[in-house]
Subunit: 342 residues, 4 copies
Amino acid sequence: MLSFKNDYSEGACEEIMQALMKTNLNQTIGYGCDEICQEAKTAIQNKLHNHACDIHFLVGGTQTNQIVISSALRPYEAVIAADTGHINVHETGAIEATGHKVLISESKDGKVLPFGIEDVMKLHTDEHMVKPKMVYISNATETGSVYTKQELLELREVCDRYDLYLYMDGARFPMALMSNDSDVIFEDLTSIFDVFYLGGTKCGALFGEAVVIVCDALKTDFRYSIKQRGAMLAKGRLLGVQFLELFKNDCYERLASHANEMAQELQNGCIKMGMQMLAPSSTNQLFPILSNEKKEQLEKYCLFEDWKIIDEDHTAIRFVTSWATRKEDVDTLLKILRNLYA
Amino acid sequence: MLSFKNDYSEGACEEIMQALMKTNLNQTIGYGCDEICQEAKTAIQNKLHNHACDIHFLVGGTQTNQIVISSALRPYEAVIAADTGHINVHETGAIEATGHKVLISESKDGKVLPFGIEDVMKLHTDEHMVKPKMVYISNATETGSVYTKQELLELREVCDRYDLYLYMDGARFPMALMSNDSDVIFEDLTSIFDVFYLGGTKCGALFGEAVVIVCDALKTDFRYSIKQRGAMLAKGRLLGVQFLELFKNDCYERLASHANEMAQELQNGCIKMGMQMLAPSSTNQLFPILSNEKKEQLEKYCLFEDWKIIDEDHTAIRFVTSWATRKEDVDTLLKILRNLYA
Amino acid sequence: MLSFKNDYSEGACEEIMQALMKTNLNQTIGYGCDEICQEAKTAIQNKLHNHACDIHFLVGGTQTNQIVISSALRPYEAVIAADTGHINVHETGAIEATGHKVLISESKDGKVLPFGIEDVMKLHTDEHMVKPKMVYISNATETGSVYTKQELLELREVCDRYDLYLYMDGARFPMALMSNDSDVIFEDLTSIFDVFYLGGTKCGALFGEAVVIVCDALKTDFRYSIKQRGAMLAKGRLLGVQFLELFKNDCYERLASHANEMAQELQNGCIKMGMQMLAPSSTNQLFPILSNEKKEQLEKYCLFEDWKIIDEDHTAIRFVTSWATRKEDVDTLLKILRNLYA
Amino acid sequence: MLSFKNDYSEGACEEIMQALMKTNLNQTIGYGCDEICQEAKTAIQNKLHNHACDIHFLVGGTQTNQIVISSALRPYEAVIAADTGHINVHETGAIEATGHKVLISESKDGKVLPFGIEDVMKLHTDEHMVKPKMVYISNATETGSVYTKQELLELREVCDRYDLYLYMDGARFPMALMSNDSDVIFEDLTSIFDVFYLGGTKCGALFGEAVVIVCDALKTDFRYSIKQRGAMLAKGRLLGVQFLELFKNDCYERLASHANEMAQELQNGCIKMGMQMLAPSSTNQLFPILSNEKKEQLEKYCLFEDWKIIDEDHTAIRFVTSWATRKEDVDTLLKILRNLYA
């Protein structure tokens, strides 16, 4: 059966698998202190045009959000997010489990709005309420949208004004980077964010997220936090091996571009046949709206996720493409859809 | 340089690497709900001769201890361990980070003693103190020793008497299983322990630990705990693929036997040349005592860990072998040592 | 200066002060295990017509909410509340500090709505999200409104349907009880709620809240939770002494009635002179809307709280009366207001 | 029946009761922001000869330890204590409940030893272990002993060397202060400790502990921590009223002296009749060793605590005197003992 269910259905890209095979019997010291990890960190720093940032490799996204946020905040401090934010909905209270409240800011298309942050700050004025100290955004967002550089600079400005850390969940940052709607480039990141992560899991790696810490105050003892949260991989070099490949020869960008292109081809096809989209997308997630009858028929041929009930008879579903999506599968899906819509 | 520093210096055994390559582009659903994980769980249940237990795959040991323990205990409940227990010393307070105290029981050679547990229970009598509710042991222990079946049954008895869960950290259980000093077999495990894990990281896998939950009360909602602690791997099938290989054709036992054999060969050589051992070992960790002068010379040729200061002039060091240790490296190390001791 | 700022501006009612003086040099055992506490618990059980419930005395409201909720929930479980709920806004993340998410249900006038709970339940379906397990309401609510018995029974029904605990924060329950809008009586409480507390701080005591646990599952080891959260008063009998007085001779009801009557007198006066109220109130909190100009003038004579910005020129303020409010102070305040509105 | 069970069996000293009565109907703003609290803080600062320190009033000792320690430490940091330390044994894991490990230092007579701290520091060297950051002592200790100024200065020195906060639990500091074995004076405290508390509960107050924060880094947002842990008393002025009385006219010292004197009289009598003490005491706790037979007889006349099993036939028990202990009760107890020992 076809699957457009998510962008972590397959293993890793060929380059990574080969590198894992090649280095398999090499002996290295553990916990990410090896030379391959060091090399991978330098490769990322080169891409960012910033060699003063700290880089740490973690295994997964929820883990990364939990460690970054709990490491940055004092017990009574809180993080601001969109109501659709991954940390607010889809992490089983991982942030609260470390003692911190997630505050909701007004948002649009999954994007946090500067005045939404301001509103939260104005409401939290004394010790009877939590103290907001960080803004969490994801880019691309959970709904597939991307921030423009101007939008990010406006968030930075409001964070500066209120002494807030600005943190980007970059699980799908490569797709944002390569999106036609985004003018953000790698070199922008360390001047905009205090801390962010570049996702590996959804862009060619078996697993892995690269945390980049820009703000000095957040650098202190970060490895203690990694270990305490159970996230220090014994064979840490596995993360170095993977990120080294991703940041060689623009592999990361190439994989993300492929995912985006497959999505655009699919989206164009859908629109051409008159399907409505919940919102246009320039990344690898699409949210077409189907009648429940058509949705039911489609389920016979293809895996996907239900996203949102639109009305009694219609549902927005989610198609996700990835670095591994094959053009022939997109074509097949479009053919199936055309049959449904004929 | 030679390395006898630990048992996670290399990648994975050949069978696992091949299986990862072979399944790499297969599409599966995420988070360990795929068929390969299911197959691997059945393979483990077969080995345990118990199909009523729940099995969950996690990435690493500290993570596993944290999730199992915090999931089992109410906030004011505590876990009992040896002072050398991994959760007490080497997990950066991961258990306390989830709110639970680690209580120390008297132990011998790294092994918790039944009367040590009784002493703890007698001291904790009311609500002004934590309530002990679980006993944590590791087998093989942090110091390389193993429990006999009789010793485990005695722990079980005292746990039953005081209504305590008995939990085994099996990061190196395969080495204990294959040790000449142990009469424990796979079939014993689910009748002795309420919950335990079988280590993959230190026995042939890239990473991975298989949690086996026997006690029904501990099964409820365990996947919520996994997710909340940031430990639910997106491409969960990677764990299934690896454990399926380990539990095929006695691969797991074979890898552990190799590690033990390499250690015994090394130990025999050491003893033959008159070196003293901190304690005899039947598993893959050895603790020879060297003069500091000889230790310094050895450091030029071989990586190992300092374990314990014996006196002003002597230190116990640690050699660890693994499934990947080459016989020629053992021979080379013995040759170097013979030169030092000549 | 007049103060209508809150209902904890004064000490305790005369009966309590006398009882504290009288028992001051009596020797009792500590931590609430004394006979006076036992007597006070029986007095409360008598009032509730239920002698199977457990009763514990705590010092303050946030403390009580934190202990009740964290004691009831497993780590990944969450509590549902109105967005105006005290635990959501005014407790500095005390619930999250114990690891639990506060989920927001749709509400009206500060009251949680049954279908709001249903909506939350429908959205939280698997282990990627927290698991809602408790509904928190306050009665009277933070906005002064009260639940009818019918409304409470409907909440009970939805809680039964979804296996949720129903918990009432009764910091101002006596005012709800004595409100003209409420048909709830003491005898109803233990059949509707799994756990609730009866507030002392805001109804005549120096401090103190009486937790009543109806549901057996929530009774286990509750004193451990009290102690672990730092809430076990050494001289616990101070709480017993106070609650014994409150539950003697309808003292509790009488004090609450006085607070309500003073508020009604004030409200009637306000309405008569044409002031608009944010919502009508039958308890001891009033929320008149003033022009900012008038508000500024009033601040010269009287302490009160700003509650909500209505528009650029108007603000809802809060007047609170208490068991200690003097009729002459209400008269004086009305006179001042009449001057402003003349 | 006589009670020498503890020093919190009675209410408050006469001065405090009168002040509570006198101020009872005064209206003040809540949460300790009132003028009486301010006055009490100034009185304490005067006594300490230091007006730069911050002072906060809390209700009880476990609460205070929990808030001070959790507020000072980052999540992976730990606090060092004697194994007999109150936070290690008698607070139901309150410190661990906030995520922090309690590390045990070698101690003597309940007093932490400088080289014990050094040993802990030498063992905790990297991110696989918690990071010790604070030393907790109690003075007087749980076993009635007191630190000399020289001993405290040596602790300060080792804390400076290892960048550790030094914190004193002063639940029984007044008894230490007035002890014949102590040369510490009030003026010493702020130059030795980063943070400490002066106990009210055990020295004349109904309840209350005064936290004194010397170190600037620990001052930030302390009220947020108080509120988040449920410890901000609504009628905060109750704490101010009490501490103001205690720090007027040397009331605090006088009450402590009385407790010590009663204990010394009792101790002298015990020794004179040949009873053995577990250790000599110069404060208000005594630990005589009795045969179990005599202990059983004594239980008919007097409440006390069993402290420690000495051997099969002997037990050390604990007598505690307080500000409220009557000379005639000491005489009666001595008479009973003399009869037992006749």
